[in-house]
């Protein structure tokens, strides 16, 4: 592996680790449950993709890369499913149902309203 490739791996890994550590810190700092949920997304998208890029730069297209692609795909879809399921579970625990209730007055963004609520 050339010096440039080695440097690229170090930079990619550094970004992945820093993003993951910041998200872990945010998880502990944020006061609200739903704010906390958002911090899982960055790890499963940004960090895992940078790790995949680092593996591709170091190994090329081989067994390790293919397995890493599978793991990244699992993390990507796992996070989306788990985030939805966890938020839904919290809503069911608090309200007894998870669908929107007209009495809740949830602000809805109408199409063509320019983002006004």
């Amino acid at each position: 592996m050339s010096g440039a490739a080695h440097l690229a791996v170090e930079v990619l890994l550094g970004i992945a680790v820093v993003v993951a550590l910041i998200c872990c810190l945010g998880l502990a700092i944020m006061p609200d449950f739903y704010e906390r949920l958002h911090y899982m997304a960055s790890v499963s998208t940004i960090s895992s993709v940078f790790v995949l890029a680092a593996v591709v730069v170091q190994e090329g297209w081989g067994q390790a890369t293919l397995k890493t692609i599978v793991i990244v795909l699992v993390l990507f879809f796992m996070n989306a499913t788990l985030t939805h399921a966890t938020a839904r579970a919290d809503r069911v625990r608090k309200l007894g149902h998870w669908t929107a209730d007209p009495k809740e007055n949830i602000p809805v963004v109408k199409s063509g309203s320019g983002g006004k609520r």
């Binding site: 791996v9 170090e10 890994l13 550094g14 992945a16 680790v17 993951a20 550590l21 998200c23 872990c24 810190l25 998880l27 502990a28 449950f33 906390r36 949920l37 911090y39 899982m40 790890v43 499963s44 960090s47 895992s48 790790v51 593996v55 170091q58 190994e59 081989g62 067994q63 390790a64 397995k67 890493t68 599978v70 793991i71 699992v74 993390l75 796992m78 996070n79 499913t81 788990l82 399921a85 966890t86 839904r88 579970a89 919290d90 069911v92 625990r93």
Partner: protein, 83 residues
Amino acid sequence: MNVWLIAAAALMFGLIPCGIVVFTRDAMNRLVGLEMAGMIETLILIFLAQGFQNPNFYDLALAMALLSFGGGLVFTRFLERWL
């Protein structure tokens, strides 16, 4: 000690905030901490597999990702219905 093992060691510090959330918050927040810890551990196992230059270790990371997904869903359903 290569850059992958250093990254794995650094990422282990990410488990500390997850542990704080798991040990100090209520049940739903604990679940979020657990799910985050599962993802961090998956990345750590990828780093260790690459750091030790053994592609077989990637199976551990894959198993960790799949099992934390299943475990998270089970806990979610359990907390939603019975707790």
